[in-house]
Symmetry: C2
Subunit: 509 residues, 2 copies
């Protein structure tokens, strides 16, 4: 390690300890229970409704004969593209899926546990646009993409590098995955996600992970995730199932996510949308096990609502938030790791609306027991834009959530009974020995919130939170330092990318 | 009822139903469980720590010999001003306090239940300053005070008129309570709070309630609340205990609230601060029962933290939020109605920081089971300012929380199983009969959030949430209509105020 890198690491460690004990861990092990809102009886009713959907209406699997073969062999009823499942069949197939697994990072200190009590924060995923206060909204580029990786890597509050943080629209559609995976590997030493937009792009992503980690290691360990979406209602497209199978085949984890806007791709009532999502997710998760028994897989969910006035999708609203708690309970009954919710908003600015909706949505993910929280930072504009400022605001909230998930520790030292005898009625605790011993780690300290008195804040220019976030991302990018990477590995990866790019014409659609 | 008033009421009813089924109720009966984070064992440890504080260090009761007499007769050890309590004694005294009571409003349709599954939203309380985007920060006046009552009364998302919504600093200190209570009665037909800043002001407040409701009714029913604060750590000032006793004596409800900034008025560790608050609250609550057995009383709490960098108080931070869950559990074990948390922030603007902190703090109140949520709307600036815009943003969040607290209903209709057979894989639910039947009430619809596509939002002027809130409060004030009040009662109240004002010289401190 070079002198400057060592100094940088020490500075970061100091930075972390300055902000209290909460942050700087590779992932969180929650010390508070999940928030369970439904009775066992009502959960069973939802499962029964899902079973009925699966048995009576079934799910269509398009453009993937291998998937249909898998289902046939597993005993499902296949009628054309339509697959129907006997109640209980998917749960049986899913018995082989691990409830907890480790996703390895190239820096082993950054490997994350997915499942059980773990909580992993990853940036938002998939926006075609990016925004900042200086330049407004524009199409995302590969440089924006790289910038967000740098910001995530610099944040002590996030754990994961994410995947398609924004669409690098200046790179041909059929070659983006190569540049994206390369950027994750070169600019971050945290775990990351690969592409899923075509089976061969999934395989390319995994192949690059093999170059980084070694093929033998990859065959036995999860090092890359792929996020696949159901074409709700009740359709799995071949592009997605082929990608899902590519990840499973390589023993890598697919994240299985129905995307239901209530009233459009599913019922307008929460219980129905949850039952549908459960059916769709369980089918996708089970398919990974038919491709490779024991492959890691994540039970995903994305509930949403819509505006009754305009029919526009809405995010960070109360119904999906409380619905997430039910989804969490169902995932735990299925004994699978959970991805749920995230930080969502339809606001077009990093303003009050953005953080009301974002905080409600993010806390739902925290309370429902989500293990892998994709979309932890950056979204504005109804998922269509990654905002530089919102990224910083959200990452700051992620920092707060470390302390929140630590819960309230109860022991003699924390109860401080002796301190009351020392201080006595009417006196202050500032100088008490108990206060001195705990002062520096007692509270999480936001780096973006302004807690100063009004007069001091006004004298400093009356700066709002969005403008502070604007300064913060610029500072973070200016101070960013790439983690070291073996030069042989780097060269091999770059060769692979160059070779794969040369093999195809550019495609822009 | 006049024609125009009837039309106004019909318009309001239509407005409520347009926004979904959530809002417009006099109060909420929660349909989701509380979020319990600590084990019984750890709760018992906190209670034991509180018992030790009460028995060993005790609490000082200043300037109130009657309170000391009460304690002596109840069997506490009184040593000068210091009172010490045997473990279990306060719980025994509190056995007579009602776990649930009704606070009556002058419009019976607006009476609220306090305790059990109820959730009541009241505006923020006690700021010396007010703010709006046009005029910035300034001292509050009686006209500001009246405006906030009008805004609360106009909101279908709030339930209670509150108390000292802002300090009317243009009215002498010793006469403010008269104008404030009169304003609550004249401008709102919802329940309200009286003054507590001196025993005679508490009695004036209650006397005005007697004029409104009749003395006999008031003696048997709760019609006014008084919010009293502990002078933490472990001191009860005579001003507060005399007011507390005045409310209890009249069979009215005192809200008993320790105010602990961790590290200043209590230990810097949450468990210790919670144990202290429990001790202080239990003592105050018990004192009401010694004044009048069976008087309603609310177990209150106000946890906070501080910035490790500046020592400034911080609000809406994770430690008090998760700590509130423990406070909720303790209040339920004490079998008392709970007031906890609220919508807090140190931000000086209705910006992203304000709503991150405010939403985290408010959701803590929701999850911990608070029955009476004072400070539901309006605070900025570390409790020092009431913001017109923040009030509207917060009230909008209160609307969302109606739907949130309704939870997820599970029955055949909500599960929509037949709809899947109707719609089938790959089709949309827009025109499905199930969607049609539920469309209008399925989702809460914010009146402040902008869910439009970016282009439409941009074409409409790229307005942020704070500016929309600015328009909204002006519109609400312009459209406000005072609820009818019996002219005889109005005259009697005004006479009382005039007489009481004439009896004293103005005091400005």
């Amino acid at each position: 390690m070079s002198e400057s890198r060592r100094a940088g690491r020490q500075a970061r460690t100091a930075e972390r300890s300055r902000r209290g004990s909460g942050v700087g861990r590779p992932y969180i092990l929650r010390n508070i229970p999940t928030y369970d809102v439904l009775s066992e009886e009502n959960l069973a009713r939802i499962e029964t409704a899902a079973d009925r959907i699966l048995a009576e209406t079934g799910i269509e699997f398009r453009d993937d004969p291998v998937a249909l073969d898998h289902w046939r062999r597993a005993g499902a009823r296949v009628d054309g593209l339509r697959v129907r499942f006997e109640p209980g069949m998917l749960r049986e197939v899913l018995a082989s899926a691990p409830p907890v697994f480790t996703q390895h990072a190239r820096n082993p200190a950054n490997s994350v546990q997915v499942g059980g009590r773990s909580v992993v924060f990853a940036p938002a995923y998939g926006s075609p646009f990016v925004m900042d206060l200086d330049r407004g909204r524009r199409f995302g580029t590969i440089e924006d993409f790289r910038n967000f990786i740098r910001l995530a890597q610099s944040s002590p509050n996030l754990h994961h590098s994410g995947g398609t943080i924004c669409e690098p629209t200046d790179v041909p559609v059929n070659k983006r995955h190569l540049d994206m995976v390369l950027a994750h590997i070169e600019l971050s030493d945290r775990p990351f996600m690969g592409s899923v937009t075509a089976e061969e792009r999934s395989e390319d992503s995994i192949e690059m992970a093999r170059i980084l980690f070694g093929a033998g290691f990859v065959d036995q360990n999860c090092v890359i995730l792929g996020n696949v979406n159901v074409n709700s209602p009740l359709v799995w497209d071949g592009t997605m199932t082929r990608s899902l199978r590519a990840y499973a085949r390589a023993n890598q984890a697919a994240v299985i996510v129905p995307f239901i806007l209530g009233g459009a791709m599913g019922p307008v009532t929460s219980a129905g949308a949850i039952a549908q999502a459960h059916a769709e997710t369980m089918a996708g998760c089970a398919l990974t096990q038919l491709e490779r028994k024991g492959a890691p897989v994540i039970y995903g969910n994305f509930l949403s609502s819509m505006s009754l006035r305009s029919g526009a999708p809405t995010f960070g609203t109360p119904e999906p938030a409380i619905g997430s708690m039910v989804v969490g309970q169902l995932a735990r009954r299925a004994n699978l790791p959970l991805r749920c919710s995230g930080n969502f908003t339809t606001s077009k600015l990093p303003d009050a609306q953005a953080m009301t909706e974002g905080t409600m949505s993010m806390l739902a993910a925290i309370h429902c027991g989500a293990n892998f929280i994709l979309h932890s930072a950056g979204f504005l504009d109804g998922l269509l834009s990654m905002s530089y400022e919102k990224f910083m605001l959200d990452a700051d909230l992620c920092g707060a959530l470390h302390s929140y998930l630590d819960g309230v520790k109860v022991d003699d030292d924390q109860l401080a009974v002796d301190a009351f005898a020392e201080v006595g009625p009417g006196n202050h605790f500032f100088g008490a020995s108990h206060t001195m011993a705990h002062y520096e780690t007692a509270f999480w300290d936001s780096s973006l919130a302004d807690n100063e008195p009004f007069e001091k804040w006004e004298a400093a220019g009356s700066v709002d939170a969005a403008s502070r976030a604007n300064r913060a991302w610029k500072k973070a990018l200016a101070e960013y330092e790439a983690p070291a990477l073996d030069e042989g590995v780097r060269e091999e990866l770059r060769d692979f990318v160059a070779r794969r790019k040369a093999a195809e014409d550019d495609r822009w659609y």
